[in-house]
């Protein structure tokens, strides 16, 4: 069958759309399956072939809330994520300012070195960090987590802010200096307002990375300071996997950050692609 140009365009349009939906579905499928499983009983969850239709139950959610206080874990996640991100930003903003506007001979090297720390497998420093935390009597406390989250995200935040600050013409800061601005004034009245979008997206990214962090949360916390990652992990026990309960816990852990990410997606995309397209 021969198609004219406009028909061919329509087909192409639909084909592209279909493909995009397919990819999206593949990416989204595990999450969908997780949510579906969370509304099944443990038996339904492991039935073969998998059930596509079943009687939904909220038992898993109720059980989890009974066995472990969801809100406590959620707040721990919130405190550590926000705390870690704020701490990282407080350190990163002045440092990125110094590196962007007063670069020295080794500024580039320092930036690269900072990034290289991200290549170190976390487990490589597990023992020293565990020992230090233990000696400080800070196991199962949110404070070492906040510190670790901040340090963990510092290189990425530094890089993002550095790139953003670099975009500010040097003369504007010099003009501010001639106008009588101290370094703090420059940061407060010029640099931060001008790169507000960049600081926001760096912060958002860090929040998400902190929220999803599992390794250190699981290693360093138990019941008191446990984050949502630790909550999920607590449902995979030696006595056997409880798929439905793990799914319910995971769904509850993911939900807040997914909603949050949904609302901030524009900011995030802009932040991550910054410099790529100008």
């Amino acid at each position: 069958m021969m198609l004219n140009i406009s028909q061919r365009k329509t087909v192409k349009h639909w084909a592209t759309g279909l493909f995009a939906w397919l990819v999206a579905l593949i990416l989204f499928f595990p999450i969908l399956w997780m949510i579906m499983t969370s509304f099944k009983t443990e038996l339904q969850a492991i039935s073969q072939p998998p059930l596509l239709f079943w009687e939904t139950t909220f038992d898993n959610y109720i059980l989890i809330q009974e066995r472990s206080d969801y809100l406590k874990y959620a707040f721990n996640s919130l405190y550590t994520s926000v705390g870690g991100t704020l701490l990282a930003l407080i350190i990163a903003v002045p440092s990125a300012y110094a590196m962007a506007f007063f670069p020295g001979k080794y500024t580039k090297d320092i930036l690269l070195w900072m990034l290289s720390t991200k290549m170190l497998p976390a487990v490589g420093v597990l023992i020293p960090i565990y020992m230090i935390t233990q000696m400080g009597g800070l196991l199962d406390s949110i404070y070492p987590l906040i510190l670790i989250f901040a340090l963990m995200n510092l290189p990425i935040i530094m890089w993002m802010l550095f790139t953003y600050f670099k975009e500010i013409p040097k003369e504007i800061l010099e003009a501010a200096r001639m106008d009588g601005a101290t370094t703090r004034d420059e940061l407060r009245h010029i640099v931060m307002p001008l790169s507000w979008g960049g600081i926001a997206s760096a912060g958002l990214l860090s929040l998400i990375l902190c929220w999803n962090e599992a390794f250190w949360s699981i290693q360093l916390t138990a019941s008191d300071a446990g984050t949502l990652a630790a909550l999920i992990a607590s449902y995979s026990s030696p006595e056997g996997l409880f798929w439905a309960k793990v799914s319910a816990a995971s769904t509850m852990a993911c939900a807040p950050i997914i909603v949050f990410g949904w609302f901030c997606q524009k900011q995030l995309v802009q932040g991550l692609t910054f410099g790529a397209v100008k």
Binding site: P169, E171, I172, E174, R177, D179, A181, H189
Partner: protein, 355 residues
Amino acid sequence: MSTLNISALHKHFDDFHAIRGINLNIEEGEFVVFVGPSGCGKSTLLRLIAGLEDVSGGNISLGDRDITEVPAAQRDLAMVFQSYALYPHMNVAENMSFSLRLAGASKEEIAKKVADTAAILQLEKLLDRKPKALSGGQRQRVAIGRAIVRHPSVFLFDEPLSNLDAALRVQMRQELAALHQRLKATMIYVTHDQVEAMTLADKVVILNAGQVEQVGTPMEVYYNPESRFVAEFIGTPKMNFFPMDDLVTNYLNNNPKVDRNLEAAAWIGARPESIMLDKKGMFGTVTLIERLGAETLVYLNYCDQYQVAIRASSLAPVELGETIEFGLDLEQVHSFDDQGNRLSPAITGDLIKAL
């Protein structure tokens, strides 16, 4: 009160010796222009005065206050940048009042000063616009307004007009001159444009390779350049130079002696207007004629290797390719030694001194 004093100033950038021992005195209320070719250190010198660069050696003092080590923010100087450097997130009024707000001025004081300044610069209607909604000339005005608002001891201008188009540049130049008349403030102005230097300056400072070549009024540096560098740099077309060979010696001998001791020179310099087509004795081939209307510029090839520019009358009867005879106004020529230093005593006219 606020005399600016620079003594033995040096600046090194790693291996590069940008400023090489500059001594300079700038009186209160003077309009001083730093001029020189690119890379001569004029902008660096301004930035050193501003405090935007660290001094490697020497001293800067303002009045009886040594400001060599004082941070830029506390020097009481205002600067206008070539790129305007307006704060993009603030409107015109906020841009102008930023320094006052930092200094903690009262709301009434800020409002009054901004209004006064806006009136001087005709910015009243633009006060709540953001910089990106302004034209180049308006931006430049805001940048100047930002400086005026503060009533600084000294204004610093770093090539402020070079981003403007030609017509606007002339207009802003005249406005700056009027502003200086009105504020009677000390202004230091960096430019590579000698027209700006000649028209704005009370005092021109000509810089070359990090050193001061000459300091003087515009007329002094034009009529009495102390070195061949200054002679060549100031004036368009450039001053012409003749080697002191047999030909020129002959020419000097054949003309009525002037008491200026020109014979000892290695080079004779003559401005395009000091070369006369109605005088005799030297020859050249016409290579280019530029008829500008009010005058005609004639370019000659002299002795097959020197280009000579002559400022001739509007309707001068010259033709391309012809060989013409010309002569020098020996009262007005300059003589330089091999090193480019001036030999002949200055041309002393009462008129030049008065200007």
